[in-house]
């Protein structure tokens, strides 16, 4: 199982496409830095092929708050703090960074 960490805005479609192609069942996606904008409801088409039972979707709390998105996120994404980032890193046997 792999943790996929991505840090670019949803405008970088091919980066998202490459990440999505790299997903296996049981993997998780964590949005950090500018990638947290992808958790807006308007961008959920990016993740439409994913089943929520299969791929865990989260976004980093500090980046969400910094960007004023706290009350604007799609309910598909859970907000995780830095401890949550570390916990996700331990729960998955490798980490792939998409940047």
């Amino acid at each position: 199982m792999t943790l996929h960490v991505i840090n670019k805005t949803p405008q970088n479609k091919s980066l998202y496409l490459n990440m999505l192609n790299g997903l296996s069942s049981g993997d998780a996606i964590l949005l950090i830095e500018d990638a947290v904008y992808s958790a807006l409801e308007a961008h959920q088409s990016l993740f439409k092929a994913l089943s929520p039972d299969d791929i865990q979707l989260s976004a980093l709390e500090a980046d969400i708050q910094a960007r004023g998105l706290e009350d604007k996120l799609s309910p598909r994404f859970s907000s995780v703090n830095d401890q949550g980032f570390v916990k996700l890193s331990c729960e998955h046997d490798k980490i792939v960074s998409w940047y």
């Binding site: 792999t2 091919s14 490459n18 192609n21 296996s24 490798k94 792939v96």
Partner: protein, 121 residues
């Protein structure tokens, strides 16, 4: 001494315009010298690294294609691209600087699964 952890390096950067392609190759060669099995996957803009007939003389830069051709000497022979990416840029295997293994896009996930560690450039 060093565990033989297998490494997949995912290359998504075009050559010349940034230093990422170079930096990635340097890491690949080093890991191979340390006897770690290295696989390279070129996707998205990374595929441009493999185009043949590169002539960067006027840029005063090293020929990326030539560095890539050194890979087999370092026992790096697992070089993957996707059929979909190649088709999307309108080129064929004849336009590439070296022999590669063509895979389907949906095989990227298993490449990631099969390797112990994954680096991206």
């Amino acid at each position: 001494m060093i565990d033989k952890k297998s490494i997949l390096i995912i290359n998504q950067s075009a050559p010349y315009g940034s230093s990422k392609a170079r930096e990635s190759l340097d890491v690949a060669l080093t890991c191979s010298i340390f006897e770690m099995p290295v696989s390279l996957l070129f996707i998205g803009d990374g595929l441009y690294q493999l185009i043949n007939n590169q002539s960067p003389d006027a840029l005063n830069m090293k020929k990326h294609e030539a560095m890539l051709s050194a890979l087999p000497m370092y026992d790096i022979e697992k070089i993957y691209i996707t059929e979909e990416d190649l088709e999307s840029i309108g080129l064929t295997e004849n336009d590439l600087a070296m022999p590669v293994t063509l895979i389907q896009r949906d095989a990227i996930a298993s490449l990631i699964q099969q390797n112990d560690s994954v680096l991206t450039f």
